[in-house]
């Protein structure tokens, strides 16, 4: 038990008669790299929303380590180390990158409620934010407003904001979505360089990324987990081939 970083037990969620999560049970051991794949509408992002508390499950449990977090508010889950990024950039357009990451660092350190000292006097928080930006290759763009950053840099900032919360479990929702080929190298190396202590579960359609980083792959279809296995097992799995190839698209 203690080696599990994240687990769900029998998660159910439906919108009306549409079951978007059906009896989802998964276990992610500490420090692992798991990929979550499946066709559009399979319920991948819904599952992330359930795990992070942005949606409430109809049934089932969510465990972070040994703690049951099913009833906690999203922000409280973040403070306990369960942090996500978003498929569609969910950033602070008029803050520059340094301010945005400093904000996230301050929220974690508990200094974000202080209004009688100036921000520059929180030197440690600022240095920490800057170090995160350096590790994401964003240092040169620290002082530019978020909305002026290149799309690929905005995707990196998505991850930088999450890292500022010092996650023990990081959920990446399609980190490479929409990133042009030329800008993907920085993003891939940023994901590769994530601390090995951190448990990572990521949704991705880019199979290069999936097979490069994932130690195990979970395949979802129609709100259910179809199969879980190593990349080799998944690549050879007949059902997975049918799900993807049966549709006649190279969607994955």
């Amino acid at each position: 038990m203690s080696t599990l970083a994240l687990a769900t037990r029998g998660l159910d969620k439906s919108f009306g008669s549409l079951g978007v999560a059906r009896n989802v049970t998964l276990e992610v051991p500490r420090g692992e790299r798991y990929a979550l794949i499946g066709p559009n509408g399979a319920g991948k992002t819904t599952l992330i929303n359930l795990i992070t508390g942005m949606l409430k499950p109809d049934r089932g449990q969510i465990l972070l380590g040994a703690q049951d977090i099913t009833l906690l508010e999203p922000a409280e889950r973040v403070r306990r180390g369960l942090v996500r990024t978003f498929q569609i950039n969910t950033l602070f357009p008029h803050l520059n990158a340094l301010e945005a990451v400093t904000l996230a660092v301050c929220e974690r350190r508990g200094c974000s409620g202080r209004w009688w000292r100036t921000l520059p006097s929180y030197r440690e928080a600022i240095e920490e934010a800057h170090a995160i930006l350096v590790s994401m290759e964003l240092a040169a763009s620290s002082y530019r407003p978020t909305r002026e950053l290149a799309y690929g840099q905005q995707r990196l900032l998505e991850i930088a904001l999450a890292l500022a919360a010092r996650p023990s479990v990081l959920l990446l929702d399609e980190p490479a979505a929409g990133v042009p080929q030329g800008e993907s190298a920085d993003l891939f190396s940023a994901i590769e360089n994530l601390s090995q202590d951190m448990t990572v579960l990521f949704i991705e359609h880019d199979m290069n990324l999936v097979f490069r980083f994932a130690k195990r792959i979970i395949v979802m279809v129609g709100g259910r987990i179809l199969v879980e296995g190593t990349p080799e097992e998944i690549a050879a799995d007949q059902r997975v081939r049918e799900v993807y190839l049966g549709r006649g698209t190279r969607h994955a």
Binding site: V83, P93, A100, C106
Partner: protein, 329 residues
């Protein structure tokens, strides 16, 4: 450019919040009415009070993105509190001001518990409803407030035991100006603090805030309470300098006016409320002189013009014309 020199990020943020020459100039120019327009000191004190009221709205609307159509509730509550304290025999202005500040702050905190749970249209309706509710309560409690006749019998003692509130408004303007400056310094510090950054985060993306572990509701309760204190102080200043309180201090009209003032000047810019107050009050004074019945028509034209051509208010428009070193004022 890959990595910065140590301390550079900190210096960058420091440079963003340092005092600009234009700011110093602005505050020096607030002394001009004493010399240049001594017959307009009453108007000047009303401008300072309106500026303070708009500054308090700016904290919640301009920085945290919380729209309110009932901000007069705190202005009027502070006004009546200060007026009643003086009427009941304690006419000392500064302590009366503090009592009104505490009362408005308590009202602000209580309402913030509800306010922090809503956004957008629901929030506009709740603040509007709350404002109307309080105005009607004050109207029906005429034994306490004087109702439609206003609160009579407010007698202020000398300011600091030295300066009488004179007919020309010397003491009134000096008093209002000092209080405005102190409130402004507080607001400026707040905006430049980690808390101010968190408020901008809520305005920029309320959805992301919980995902970085932020308790946005706690932030909103806090800033709302602080804004209510400032609005209450503005209301108290009006009660003390005019020695009367009318129901108009709680009215929807006043809530709407302060919104107009802030939008005119430029929301989210610290000086927006004060600049807006100067333009609005001077325009009102001039227009109502020319055309006593229809002056609001011209205010309407002014508002539409500013919003169409200067989407970030007068200050936002000016900022585009000025060199970078003078900006962010």
């Amino acid at each position: 450019m890959i990595s910065a020199a140590p301390g550079e990020p900190q210096r960058f943020l420091q440079a963003q919040i340092r005092w600009r020459p234009l700011e110093i100039l602005f505050w020096l120019s607030t002394l001009l009415p004493f010399v240049l327009a001594p017959s307009y000191l009453i108007l000047a004190s009303q401008i300072a009070i309106t500026g303070l009221f708009a500054l308090s709205l700016d904290l919640i609307l301009g920085y945290a993105g919380i729209v309110s159509l009932g901000h007069a509730a705190y202005f009027g509550f502070g006004s009546y509190t200060a007026g009643l304290v003086a009427k009941w025999g304690w006419g000392e202005p500064v302590s009366g001001l503090l009592i009104a500040a505490v009362a408005a702050g308590m009202l602000g905190y209580l309402s913030s518990i509800v306010i922090a749970r809503f956004r957008h249209l629901a929030l506009i309706m709740i603040t509007l409803g709350f404002g109307v509710l309080l105005a009607e309560a004050a109207n029906s409690a005429s034994w306490l407030t004087g109702g439609a006749d206003g609160l009579q019998g407010v007698r202020m003692w000398k300011l600091l035991g030295l300066f009488e509130f004179d007919l020309y408004g010397y003491a009134a303007y000096a008093y209002a100006l000092v209080v405005l400056l102190l409130a402004f310094l507080t607001a400026r510090r707040l905006i430049n603090s980690p808390f101010g950054l968190a408020l901008r985060g809520i305005r920029e993306n309320a959805l992301r805030m919980p995902a970085i572990g932020a308790d946005s509701r706690a932030h909103i309760r806090k800033v709302y309470t602080i804004a209510a204190v400032m609005a209450g102080v503005a209301g108290a200043l009006l009660a003390q300098t005019s020695e009367t309180v009318s129901l108009e201090t709680l009215s929807f009209q006043r809530s709407a006016d302060v919104l107009v003032v802030l939008i005119l000047g430029g929301a989210g810019r610290l000086y927006g409320g004060i600049v807006g107050a100067v333009v609005y009050m001077v325009a009102r004074d001039q227009f109502s002189g020319v055309n006593p019945q229809y002056w609001y028509f011209w205010i309407g034209i002014l508002l539409i013009g500013v919003v169409m051509f200067l989407p970030n208010g007068i200050l936002g428009g000016l900022a585009r014309l000025l060199p970078a070193a003078w900006r962010r004022a």
